[in-house]
């Protein structure tokens, strides 16, 4: 197992991988965001059931119900879900990897309408009343 690295952060950031690279980066960021925030959400629900921590738990969970946070976390969830399905299909049927760029276009074509509809409805509820 090769553990040595010969590429630094700056060189890594300069790499121009275009569309596939963008989905790779977004998949990592959205996955990490969901791990951290969903774990915190479960812990907040856990301590809000206990007598000693209910106000802290309710405070943390009230952040999750804010419309700005919901727009952010729904981006993470929806992108991770749709990009994850592309990865699963291309990995389990490796012959399809030749159509990776077309698959990424298709992925954005599915993502954008669903996400913009959800953002519109969240914003209408938050700002319009």
């Amino acid at each position: 197992m090769g553990l040595s690295r010969n590429v630094g952060l700056i060189e890594g950031l300069r790499y121009q991988g275009k569309g596939p690279m963008l989905t790779y980066v977004l998949h990592r960021i959205s996955g990490l965001a969901m791990v951290i925030f969903v774990a915190l959400h479960i812990l907040a629900s856990f301590i809000s059931n206990q007598a000693w921590g209910s106000s802290t738990g309710i405070f943390i969970n009230s952040i999750y119900e804010h419309w700005a946070f919901q727009i952010f976390i729904f981006f993470c969830a929806l992108f991770h879900v749709i990009n994850g399905l592309r990865i699963v299909i291309l990995d389990l049927w490796p012959k399809l990897i030749e159509y990776q760029r077309e698959a990424i276009w298709l992925e954005w074509l599915v993502f954008l309408p669903i996400y913009s509809l959800a953002v519109y409805i969240i914003l209408r509820g938050a700002l319009g009343g």
Binding site: V38, E98, A118
Partner: protein, 144 residues
Amino acid sequence: MRSRTVSLTKRGFDFETFMWLFTRLSALAMYLCAFIGLIGALIMGARTQMNLADLIRWSFMPDSNHALLNTGNQIAQPEAWMTLFWKVMGVIFITFATSHGLHGLLNVLEDYNSIPWLRRTLRILGLVLTVAMIAIGIYVLWTS
């Protein structure tokens, strides 16, 4: 450009390959869970015009505290949906999501860290965290 694949017998089926496959298959399992939840939410909200936020919340975590009680009394009988079936669906979802997510977190950490003892420590920590978070999640689901 032709894609090249190495057969499983040539590559060997070690733990990393197993976790690679587990990540893909648990993603498919979570898709199945979310679709069952979505169908349940559509049946539940058909006559009461359930809003989109509750629909999404129930799809991701079919628990009455998560979706129904937050936003008023939109459902005529929320008690009818607090069944064993939906609790088991929630437990399955929590188990897959936690193991999938924390394995992904370890994957990212090991990409940027080449110190052997730190990698080993983080692996043990990840395993402990996975078990603990599944236990806490099931506790919250079952006592709410």
